[in-house]
């Protein structure tokens, strides 16, 4: 031990040129972690924050107390949604590279952390997304072309061209607006849940942030308010190991898992294999049931890996080994569910290939539909004068004057 205090600088396990090394990720065997009653006291299940809830084992079998026992239909729906999310991401990425949209963020490798919770929650539950949870929209049945129109800022864009690509919202689908400002949605979800409790309704809220975002004060606001008021909310931290170039150690993940942060507040923390669709489904179902029964909030850490670049503006080969994703010990969520279903006899390679083709076609059709509403440079255009709408409910006089000024310029 050093005699003088020395500043500790967290070090990622590997940088470009190094061998990928995930030995720091502590794993539990599938089926090994106990499943407490949803009414148990938080202090009686602290192990859940340290272990890793997993259901699908290396032989692709599902086992243990967290096995959600989903029927074939639900499994197929889950697989389809995850695949569609990936196919959609790939297409939008390609469209960004062709200059059709200005920006994009993929969720590759993290599809399960949106799709499984969206399926485990009720349609009336309010979702507070991050920019990497497009799977929530897909699992709730959003028309794909609507998402594409947002990315195109075209005449059918739900944001009327006011937001960058991927900053979706869906009022009717109970999905809140994505904010560019990290973590703001976390305590807002708690407030929504508090309102549900005040009104005596049994809808709950759920929110998603990245592990890097857990450093923001808003993360602590969320936990404090959720704990104090026992708000019916499921708080998800998606630990995909990287926040742009900054590895999870810089958010404090070197010492204790993020799930443990719940414990200091008396909130159950669950650490789950985020690439195991069944495990994510099961822990969400557990947390939702607990919240609905008046048991208050749960903090869930999804252990996963950001297989893609941070965004289309990012080049991860500058800060992490190129082949790091291949070494990720928890595999790929789509592959794992697929293999499980094949082993169970409810799916086949052939069906899978067919589904991929079908979804690609669906995506291509949706893209054509989206284009019919225009792009930022071609086809029908949004009315630029609408940029003054919605600053306030009614347009104030000084904005009306500015709108007139803009109008006079284009005349």
């Amino acid at each position: 031990m050093a005699r003088t205090p020395r500043l500790h600088i967290p070090q990622p396990p590997a940088r470009p040129g190094d061998e990928p090394d995930f030995s720091y990720v502590e794993l539990s065997d599938a089926g090994a972690v106990s499943r407490p009653e949803v009414t148990s006291r938080a202090r009686h299940m602290e192990n859940l924050a340290l272990e890793l809830v997993r259901v699908i084992d290396d032989q692709h079998k599902a086992l243990g107390p967290w096995h959600p026992q989903l029927d074939t239909h639900d499994l197929q729906v889950g697989l389809r949604h995850m695949l569609l999310t990936r196919v959609f991401d790939d297409r939008m990425m390609a469209m960004q590279r062709q200059g059709k949209i200005s920006f994009y963020i993929k969720s590759t490798g993290e599809e399960a952390v949106s799709i499984a919770p969206a399926m485990a929650l009720q349609p009336g539950d309010m979702l507070f997304p991050s920019y990497r949870t497009q799977g929530l929209q897909i699992a709730r049945g959003r028309n794909l072309a609507d998402l594409m129109c947002q990315c195109l800022s075209n005449t059918n864009d739900m944001c009327k061209g006011r937001q960058m690509p991927v900053m979706y919202h869906w009022a009717r689908g109970n999905i809140f607006s994505v904010s560019g400002n990290l973590t703001t949605q976390f305590p807002q979800a708690v407030g929504w849940a508090m309102a549900a409790a005040i009104k005596g309704e049994d809808d709950i809220a759920a929110a998603w942030i990245g592990e890097g975002s857990s450093a923001e004060a808003d993360f602590h606001h969320a936990l404090t308010f959720a704990a104090v008021y026992q708000a019916p909310v499921v708080l998800n931290v998606v630990n995909n190991q990287w926040a742009i170039s900054t590895f999870q150690g810089f958010a404090g993940g070197e010492r204790r898992p993020f799930a443990v942060r719940g414990l200091g507040h008396g909130i159950p923390g669950i650490r789950v294999d985020g690439n195991d669709f069944l495990a994510v489904y099961a822990v969400t179902q557990w947390a939702a049931e607990r919240a609905r029964q008046g048991g208050g909030p749960t903090l869930i850490e999804h252990v996963t890996y950001r297989a893609a670049a941070h965004s289309t503006s990012d080049d991860p080969s500058r800060y992490r080994p190129r082949d790091e994703a291949k070494a990720w010990p928890l595999g790929d969520p789509i592959e794992r569910l697929k293999e499980h279903m094949i082993v169970e006899g409810s799916w086949s390679e052939k069906q899978h290939e067919k589904l991929v083709v079908e979804l690609e076609e669906y995506c291509a059709e949706a893209w054509q539909e989206a284009l019919s509403y225009g792009t930022m440079t071609t086809g029908p255009q949004l009315d630029q004068h609408e940029l003054f709408d919605d600053v306030l409910k009614d347009i104030p006089a000084h904005l009306l004057a500015q709108r007139d000024e803009l109008r006079s310029l284009s005349d």
Partner: protein, 338 residues
């Protein structure tokens, strides 16, 4: 002398200060190994070590607060906020603490913190990567607020900021990081290479805080501007063939009132332009100062050309941006009055 773009000039300023003064440290998100999302700190961690160029958790409040603590304890922190749009979680620490520490302790404590942050639109960044919040901070007493418009000033002003014992917010107009921009997005991008202010001494030098620069002398109207708008204003003056005196404010606070009033007393007309929204924007302070100081020299009302009073819309970036056309119309209008 070397040819530098603004990123290289800003990098060079920090490099020199890290070298000259061991109390200087850099802290911010992705600034270390990666060198910053705009690459302003590239190579600095390799050169000066991980204890002087620190990657930070994603917590702007924490970055500013720890910079204050370090500043109080004898360091000279340069904190990077990745986008000016993300400075707000740090606002309590900036406004209530950093800006007032010297005052509330009667000078016994101070924190010589420089906050660098990219601002402004023009990169299709939508409302959360385009803001120009300088006017929010010029309203706070106890801060110095700077915004350079070219590589030469960027380096010299940043060195002054780091050496200053008072807190400084140093806004970097990201649209002109790689080259001057005249407001026309359809023109091919130009680099700093052929711009006189792209010529930057490799060594230490300073540009004083509190001094505006007359970019172009003129007789008929004074244009007050800063950041990206300096280049747009020059283009508009050229387009309209108006003999404009263009003043790059550079340091909004403290403000070089003399240079401004001397010019307006000469021309009798003034157009103010900034990218930030208009209502209660920094242009209002400029206009008020001019009417207080030079009312009897004015022959026309002072006009402001600014961003509209809305968030920065992704799809209508160029309808929002106060471009050459709007500045030209304002110039014609003030010149109509006799």
């Amino acid at each position: 002398m070397a040819r530098m773009n603004m990123i290289q000039a800003i990098n060079s300023a920090m490099d020199i200060m890290l070298e000259r003064d061991t109390s200087v440290i850099i802290i911010g998100q992705d600034v270390g190994y990666f060198g910053g999302v705009f690459r302003c700190t590239e190579g600095l961690q390799r050169k000066y070590g991980e204890h002087r160029v620190l990657d930070a958790p994603i917590a702007e409040g924490g970055i500013i607060a720890s910079a204050i603590g370090m500043g109080v304890n004898g360091l000279r922190p340069v904190a990077e906020i990745q986008f000016a749009d993300y400075i707000y979680p740090g606002c309590d620490q900036i406004i209530s603490e950093l800006a007032r520490l010297r005052y509330r302790t009667a000078g016994d404590f101070f924190a010589p913190v420089t906050i660098r942050t990219p601002c402004g639109g023009g990169i299709r960044g939508g409302q959360t990567h385009s803001q120009s919040p300088e006017g929010i901070f010029t309203h706070v007493c106890g801060l110095k607020i700077l915004m350079p418009s070219n590589p030469f000033d960027a380096k010299g002003l940043l060195i002054s900021a780091i050496e200053d014992d008072d807190p400084v917010i140093f806004f970097e107009p990201k649209r002109i990081y790689n080259g001057p921009f005249d407001g026309d997005p359809n023109k091919p991008a130009v680099p700093w290479t052929n711009h006189p202010k792209g010529e930057v001494p490799e060594d230490y030098y300073t540009v004083p805080i509190g001094r505006a620069e007359i970019v172009q002398p003129g007789e008929d109207v004074t244009i007050l501007c800063y950041g990206t708008m300096v280049h747009v204003a020059q283009a508009a003056a050229e387009l309209t063939e108006v003999d404009a005196e263009i003043i790059d404010i550079r340091t909004m606070s403290p403000l070089d009132v003399d240079t401004i009033t001397t010019s307006v007393e000469k021309t009798g007309r003034c157009v103010i332009t900034h990218e930030a929204t208009r209502f209660s924007g920094f242009g209002a302070e400029l206009a008020a100062t001019i009417q207080e100081e030079c009312f009897y020299h004015l022959v026309a009302p002072i006009l402001r050309v600014t961003g509209w009073d809305t968030p920065y819309p992704h799809a209508f970036e160029w309808e929002y941006f106060p471009g050459q056309q709007r500045i030209s119309l304002a110039l014609e209008k003030v010149l109509e009055e006799t």
